[in-house]
Amino acid sequence: MLTHEIGSLAKPEWRVKSARGLPITQQNIDEAVSWGKRLGIDTDNLVSLLKKSKRTAEENKEIHRLSSFFGLRLMEHAGIDIVYDGEQQRTEMYHQAVSQTGGFEFYGHVRSFDNKYYRKGACVDKPKFTKAYHLEEFKQISKMTRRPLKVPITGAYTIGDWSYDEYYSQRTFDIGTSAGRSARKAARRKFVLDVARYVIKPNIQALVKAGAAWIQIDEPAVTSHPDEVPIFVESFNASTEGLRGTFSVHICFSDYANLFPHITKLKNCSQYALEFANRDSRNLGTRDSDRPGYQVLKLFKKYKIPGAIGLGVTDIHTDFLEPVELVRDRILYAVKVMGDHRLIFPTPDCGLRTRSLDIAYEKLKRTVIGTRLAEAKLV
């Protein structure tokens, strides 16, 4: 069984501070050196860059590149099979995409949860592809490793759902009427499909052309409007139509039952990477009652969904370090339900950016060790 990660890792302080032009402390440098030693990275160049009181734009770019290298090595060192860089060069999955796409403007902050916020954009004109915003990053990372890469890219539905729409729905203001509601729904579909065709597809096309073999389309928001799952299906198909490569989807923290039966119409989707551990018990065992978080797998089986499962086996919202036996049992249960170990790709639930690098590393390592334990049981 192959392991992979989902996307983001926390950015080291030295990376954050260099991007913001803040002074880098000796403690930040020590942290870089310590992780360098742990991961077998020569940090001389990085340290000399960090020690400079003023850096050029090129030097800051080099720091970002080195941060990618650290992210990538961290995953490799943990033993992950299919890797990327922990999105070290990106700001945030939504902001990164929308800020480099024509037709959007950013407004103020909106709360995501607790004291976490994101800057929400508004579509004010027809979305336009302006540049392949992950291309440079992919080219750099592909030179850093021999392991297979999986490139995460934010999907069209999520961009549509997380943005305000002031362009497509500008004439749908009627309040208290069914006509107004229908017009807003039609506007939403048009908005998402335009993002898929004119923004996401050209981005994927550029990555495929540059040699990206596997693109993961991140659609965390898919099931939040159950009646809009068909729009997601259309947008995924439109984003990948006519392209050659491996395409998968990542969905998390929502009710996956809403995906059915709509996803039977997904074309070109080779894997569904989902969060499960967050909703599971911490008890060991492979009976149904031991694994409440994984029951939805039965729906994949029932609807004969072609494609593999990216199986979330570690919870990214807590510092709890899953015992490797728990990871093992989650995998064994999934294999039992799906009936074929080749359909299971163990992963963390989602990107690990909310965890410290120490915790993230441990969780990745446990994902790998748990997988090896499960394999041993399956032999």
Binding site: Y107, G108, H109, V110, R111, S112, F113, D114, N115, Y117, Y118, K120, A122, D161, W162, Y164, D165, E166, S169, Q170, F173, D174, I175, G176, T177, S178, G180, R181, R184, A221, S224, H225, F253, S254, N278, R279, H317
Partner: protein, 319 residues
Amino acid sequence: MNNIFLELSGIYPRSEALIAATRDYDRKRISLSQLQATLKQQQDSLCQFQKKLGIKVLADGQLNWQDIFRPFGVFCREIEPGTLTRFADTNTFFRQPVITGRLSFDGSRLAEYFYGLAAKGNYKATLPAPFFLARVADDQYYHLVNKLALAFTEVLISLINKLKQHGYSSFQLYDPCLGYLGANKKELEIIRTITKMLIARTKAKIYYQTSFSASQAAVKALIGAGVQGIGIDFFNTDIKKLPNFQGKIDLLAGCLDSRSSLVEDVSTLVKFLREAIKIIKPRRLIATSNIDLQFVPQNIAQKKLTNLRQAIELVKNKI
């Protein structure tokens, strides 16, 4: 019609200053007392803004509520914050309430979460409806939605009776699940029964706020429960499909779309308000947002409310 008012509902967006303060506090750059000072300043300023808009029943905006359930973890030891759960169709999350034991109410820390307790004025509070909490909770104790809803009703009764003693005059029970997930006949009967019980034991003005679409059956059940008024999301409900209130109860008309940055123009709002009065015939019409305004940045929320104030004036003056 002169019985037309403006009110805020639920959690109001935090200002950029408060956002910065909460972030600074999380990163240990400022102390708790510095954060609380910013919070107080923002609550004061929100009340001033409401007074400028002519709002009579003030809301504190619940600016320090991390979500609609979180403070109940303080009022009830047996409600613990659980996993992050996506809130309906918004790109936001709440901590699923985990019910670990028999619910009991502790009112010793109410002042931290209800600004009106320390300020003078006429306040309203938006609280989670019992059936809403019961449907989304991870219930490890009661194991039955009805039982948990009933137990949480007891908590709300104690809370409302306490708040009533300190200037709170109006209570809005918030139940987005009613529209988002729907409710069958049996569930509507439970909602009706527990709401009736809550009203009987608090003698308070209880409004039941639905979000997403509101069915005729749900509205009829709530009228039967004896609520003061019903909140309707008019971006998801056709006004013509609702029953006539026959002047018996109030309409909390959700006519600002909290999920959209487009600011509703005054003429559209005027047209809607006139229609609502004509078709629904409420006792009083309280114009508000369709769900918490926290889903738009504060400057947009302010523009929306300002336009709604203007629209109300035009309707009142029959212009």
